[in-house]
Amino acid sequence: MWKKLNLRARIDLLLAALVVVALSGGSVMVWYTYRIQNLFAQIIDQNLACYASAAALETALVNQKGYVTYYYLDGDPTWLEKFEEQRKLFDEELRRAQHLAHKHDQVERMKQISDLYTQYIAQKTQVIEYYQTGRRAEGAELHKTVRGLFFEIMDLCEKYKMEHFEEIQQAQAKVGGEASRLRLAGIGSILVHMLIVIGLGVFVVHQILVPVATMLKDAGGDSELNPSGNIVTALSQSVSTLLKNVDQAQHELEKSRENLLQSEKMAMVGRLAASMAHSIRNPFTSVKMRLFSLSRSLKLDEAQQEDFQVISQEIRHIDTIVQNFLEFSRPPKLVMQAISPSAVVDNTLQLLSHRLDSYGVAVEVKRQQPLPEVLADPEQLKEVLVNLIINACEEMKSGGAIVITESVRTKAGRPQAVLHVADNGPGVPSANAEKIFQPFFTTKDEGTGLGLSIAHRIVTEHNGNLRLDPTHAKGAAFVICLPVKENKA
């Protein structure tokens, strides 16, 4: 049954039980208060009044004593008047006591007192009459008998008073008993309260706080979130952070999806463009072949010769653009081998020696010792250096100097072979520094904008990096970093 209830129902049930116990405990207390108040009222209104009445009755009886004897001794009628006053007082007290008597035995007791007193008064009147008529001896004799009745009434009054005293004691004991029960009920109520509170506490800990703490831990929440240690606040913060992260993740996912779609579109466009470029090259080659054939047989004047050369150059330029584009869109597969970048530098400079001469550019290689071997495709690495050197040559229109500095450095605990290629040309404007590796970005009239982009991609494919050296003051400088081949033991 308990297990079938959900969390909300369980908490409601426990809280309802707590309220019921609190209300019932309070009600019992109120009820007992009234009950004890009634008991006290009963003691005060009845027992105490009866007790006081009995005491007054006894006192009124005692006060009658002696007056007739005094009259017997000096014959002064004043004593009889005082006796009569006291007798009336006793009669009043007797009536009041009879009125207060509420139990059967009390009524019987009062009847006994009343009967005896009637008898006592009758005989006492007879004694007075004997004394008034001078029959003193008969009066004294009867007076002795009357004295016996007096003490008998006195005893009854005393008993009656003590009975009320005992009733008061009984009521007191009853109040004490009720108070004990009230205390027990109070203690019981407290215990039930405690049990329910402990149950509620255990329930809250196991059903709420522990799962909340687990959720907080799973959500990556920790004490840094809320130094005060309020787990619910921490969870709230954590959930809030999670929701923000979810929003961000969703946003990024949407962005990634858009980027992916865009990339797919671009890739498709790239494939189409590459296919088109490849198709263009075929007829272009045919055109070049025919131009070559013409050049072997044509007899041209100077102007025609110039026109022919321009046509040939422009066709070659278009072919270079298409070739670069093809290389960029369909990069050749790297054929890796262990090779020192120093050897690639030497091969490249040998390959470019004629072109360097034609540009009027001198190249200096600063090398302490050949660089350690790296895993690289020598042809691709050579292309990187050719691109950088030809770029530098084209920038330095009226000749200049290129310095290639070779060094080894350590980055993140791994050695790298570093080639620093610097020229003393105009350099790269800061506005273009971030764009020069982007495809199709060029500042040259006949540039394709793909040379540096291809070089950057080749170096990246070698797990290295190619960057512009911002610290080089005069001219442009590029840094190629390649990871040194690990020697496996």
Partner: protein, 132 residues
């Protein structure tokens, strides 16, 4: 060298085929031309002499190096010259068959003629050295 060497030109571009044919005929070679993989396959199956195959593997109906090797299966000793773009050579060359590569360009016809001559010479006297 035989007076009438038979050179097979396989190229999708008729202008290039005709240009190479013209250049080779000027050197007294007999030239056969095909324009796609199907024609090439039929010619390879047919009995008849072919001394050198000049092929641009970027041609209709030819699907990769394996397909080319299958087409050339009947002629295991036929010298093959790849007259094509460097990217196509990288894609289609396989170690299963030895081929000579001449990068197709405006002036490549001279290099092509030179390689044909070299292969014909080697075919006549096999001890004259390895193919480049």
């Amino acid at each position: 060298m035989a007076p009438q060497s038979i050179i097979l030109i396989a190229d999708r571009n008729p202008r290039i085929r005709e240009f190479i044919q013209r250049e080779l005929k000027a050197q007294s070679h007999q030239v056969i031309m095909v324009e796609n993989a199907e024609q090439l396959g039929e010619l390879m199956e047919r009995a008849g002499r072919v001394d050198v195959l000049v092929i641009d593997p970027d041609m209709p109906g030819l699907n990769g190096a394996t397909h080319l090797n299958r087409v050339l299966l009947r002629r295991p000793t036929l010298p093959v010259i790849f007259h094509c773009l460097a990217s196509d050579y990288c894609t289609l060359a396989t170690p299963e068959r030895e081929v000579v590569f001449v990068e197709k360009s405006g002036q490549s016809v001279d290099a092509l003629k030179q390689q044909i001559w070299f292969l014909l010479m080697r075919r006549q006297s096999p001890d004259q050295g390895a193919v480049v």
